[in-house]
């Protein structure tokens, strides 16, 4: 059992929290893990990505070879497309449909959606609408997205939930509770739309 995941987004959107929660879940399952992050200059509003690999077998490389990612998990639709060369033939793109427009030449959003829909397996999820529906702040979008990826993760939802609780425990109970709701909403959306 292995899962190679590319996490993508724009600096500051919170992809590293997603990675940390999955990491906790993998740790609880006794799996191996490698997670390559981006720190430094490119964090400032630029494209950011993280390679996350979890496996029941030891893992060699910190970077995922092209054509081998099981999931592209992106908080931004254009950023999801950037990593399509890494996607395995039967891999799945799970992405927020909410564009982050901080560049002048952002393409027509319908073209972006069309390109995502060309990937054999994909979940486009309006994270803004979903967080509003459950009355959560926009910062919870990353947990909505993680929830939507649970069916592909190969980890039980309860274990992901426990990982989330552990990661957010330092903050407040209210924050844990909001993020759990976000996770569940994303999971329910994926189960309905996959």
């Amino acid at each position: 059992m292995k899962n190679d995941i590319i996490l993508a987004g724009v600096g500051g959107q919170g992809i590293l929290s997603i990675a940390t929660v999955i990491g906790q879940a993998a740790l609880a399952e006794g799996w191996y893990l490698k997670q390559a992050e981006v720190h430094g200059m490119s964090q400032r509003g630029g494209e950011v990505q993280s390679h996350l690999r979890i496996s029941t077998e030891p893992i060699w490389s910190d970077l995922i070879p092209q054509g081998q990612a099981d999931i592209i998990l992106s908080l931004e639709p254009l950023e999801a497309l950037r990593y399509v060369p890494w996607l395995a033939k039967n891999g799945c793109v799970v992405t927020s449909s909410v564009p982050f427009r901080n560049i002048d030449n952002y393409p027509d959003i319908e073209q972006v959606y069309a390109a995502i829909r060309k990937c054999p397996k994909h979940i486009l999820i309006d994270t803004d609408a979903l967080v509003k529906e459950i009355n959560a702040p926009v910062q919870a979008a990353n947990m909505v997205l993680l929830g939507a990826a649970i069916p592909m993760l190969g980890v039980e939802p309860e274990i992901v939930k426990a990982g989330l609780e552990k990661v957010f425990a330092r903050k407040s109970e209210a924050i844990v509770e909001t993020n759990i709701r976000a996770l569940e909403a994303g999971y329910a959306y994926a189960c309905k739309n996959l």
């Binding site: 390559a36 992050e37 720190h39 400032r44 060699w60």
Partner: protein, 531 residues
């Protein structure tokens, strides 16, 4: 105990568990998290780390860090110095000579290289520095080795009485994995002064003796690299082919499956293990692929170590890319080109940019508008978030080379007749390497405006303390800048007219002046608000 640690954090924990007494560093991607991790541990349990506290305050630059660490080892305790690769250039004098003085307590220097220049201006390979200084170099291939080899490096440093260079690259520094740590950390050393005090006095007569000793140690360094287990040779089913894989490149090579029966020589410890290379030759190797992150250091060295009829491939021959970091794909390029998917939409890049609401933005807006009033202004930039002022929408700077170069390049250009000649430098970069340049300006009253964009922090690396906070005006005046030409403005849109007027006045003044644009970094401000 098992932890999920970044490579940087594994090094930090390894140093703590080796009985570290002090970490000395200036922030620099990808090395910053080593010191931050130790600061975190110390702040949670101030004296419970092996019973004693660890000194962990940021240094002003890599040279002061290296020298302070040398002082700590002089006093018999273990010290760690951490920096990004270009920091090695800043501390090179102290570093190279620390191999001549030798050490008393253990000294480990971590250089974090940045192939692909994710957050840097070059790809220099720090292994050259170890060779240059004639000391051993470690290059762990994974996070567990980073932890284990840091502890081993302190042992080896104390045994051989020389500093050890630990070289990592961005992917090792910034990738997490499970690390097993010891339950029995070592206590710190007691203070003890060097047995032979002359060892630390590099008068030519003494230095010659020390240098001869260091040269005499070289065969021992090679023997250790052959025998201590960090390097390993595995004969393949097809020993005509061999792969020499160094550090993290070993993992990419294994992942790619390119070995396919070839013999494998894994290198994580330099100087190169000559007997292991000889064994590879004796097994009948005809073709060697060298997989190494950074510059072709081993590929070049091997040419002098194996018979010339053996083909050596690598980055020099173009079999692996000459620049940029490696990945598993580098080894299977031809194959992946055929099978990989691609989006047919042309994707625009999304370069990094200064944060909305950042004071550097208002500073550049004002500077750009004033600069336009002159026929040929030149703005010399420096290293920090404000380097992004080179990009859209500001296009504000004409140069950015290395820490502190803004001021001295502006001076040199002014010496050549350039007017206006303006330097833009951040507060932390100013204290790192700008102050001496300002003294040069003041001493000849160069026609330069130095604009210090003071956000009260070391911003680009994540908001570490800045050495000059609260002292900048006094520093500038002490350097000899007249008080009336040390001006302070607050970079906010509402102050735009005043800012422009101050910059204009100082450009029109034909001598050295300083304009400090001071407003706190909005990232550190946000973080404080959350607390």
């Amino acid at each position: 105990m098992k932890h999920i640690l970044l490579g940087d954090e594994a090094i930090a924990q390894g140093a703590i568990d080796a009985g570290l007494s002090g970490v000395y560093a200036y922030p620099g991607t990808p090395s910053t998290e080593i010191t931050e991790y130790i600061q975190g541990v110390v702040s949670r349990q101030p004296s419970a780390v092996s019973g004693q506290s660890i000194f962990c305050q940021w240094a002003t630059n890599e040279k002061t860090a290296m020298e302070a660490a040398l002082g700590m080892t002089y006093a018999g305790k273990r010290a760690l110095v951490c920096m990004k690769h270009v920091g090695m250039n800043v501390c090179a004098d102290a570093f190279v000579n620390s191999a001549i003085t030798g050490v008393n307590g253990g000294l480990v220097v971590v250089a974090a290289d940045d192939p692909s220049m994710h957050s840097s201006q070059n790809e220099q390979d720090s292994r050259f520095y170890a060779k240059f200084a004639l000391i051993p170099c470690f290059e762990p291939s994974n996070q567990q080795e980073a932890y284990d080899m840091t502890r081993q490096a302190f042992d080896l440093s104390e045994k051989l009485r020389v500093p050890i260079l630990m070289r990592v690259t961005t992917r090792m520094a910034h990738s997490r994995a499970m690390v097993n740590t010891t339950d029995a950390p070592r206590p710190q050393n007691n203070r003890s002064l060097p047995a032979n005090p002359q060892h630390f006095i590099l008068l030519p007569a003494f230095a010659k003796r020390n240098y001869a000793d260091l040269l005499a140690q070289q065969p021992e360094f090679v023997r250790l690299s052959e025998e201590c287990g960090n390097n390993s040779y595995t004969k393949g089913t097809n020993p005509k082919r061999a792969i020499v894989a160094c550090g993290i490149a070993y993992n990419y090579m294994q992942e790619s499956g390119v070995a396919n029966g070839a013999s494998i020589l894994k290198i994580t410890h330099y100087p190169l293990p000559v007997t292991l290379i000889n064994r590879m030759v004796a097994d009948g190797v005809e073709e060697i692929l060298v997989a190494e992150e950074g510059q072709p250091v081993v590929e070049e060295l091997l040419r002098g170590l194996v018979p010339s009829n053996i083909t050596i491939r690598g980055r020099l021959t173009g079999d692996l890319p000459r620049m940029g970091e490696l990945s598993p794909d580098c080894f299977v390029q031809a194959k992946s080109q055929e099978t990989k998917a691609k989006s047919d939409l042309i994707l625009p890049g999304r370069p990094p940019s200064m944060c909305q609401g950042c004071g550097h933005r208002d500073m550049y807006t004002a500077l750009n508008e004033v600069a336009r009033e002159y026929p040929e202004p030149r703005i010399f930039g420096d290293i920090g978030c404000y380097t992004l002022g080179a990009l859209s929408p500001f296009h504000a700077i004409h140069a950015c080379v290395e820490m502190g170069a803004s001021i001295t390049m502006a001076k040199g250009a002014a010496d050549a007749g350039q007017y206006p000649s303006v330097a833009v430098i951040g507060d932390s970069t100013f204290t790192h390497s700008g102050m001496t340049g300002l003294l040069d300006c003041a001493n000849c009253n160069a026609d330069v405006v130095v604009l210090i964009s003071d956000n009260l922090t070391t911003g680009m690396t994540g908001g570490q303390d800045s050495a000059g906070t609260g002292k900048l005006e006094r520093i500038c005046m002490a350097m000899g800048i007249p008080e009336e030409h040390v001006r302070v403005v607050v970079p906010l849109a509402k102050n735009m007219d005043e800012m422009k007027q101050v910059i204009r006045e100082e450009i029109n003044y034909h001598g050295t002046s300083v304009v400090i644009a001071r407003r706190e970094c909005i990232q550190t401000l946000k973080r404080k608000a959350r607390k």
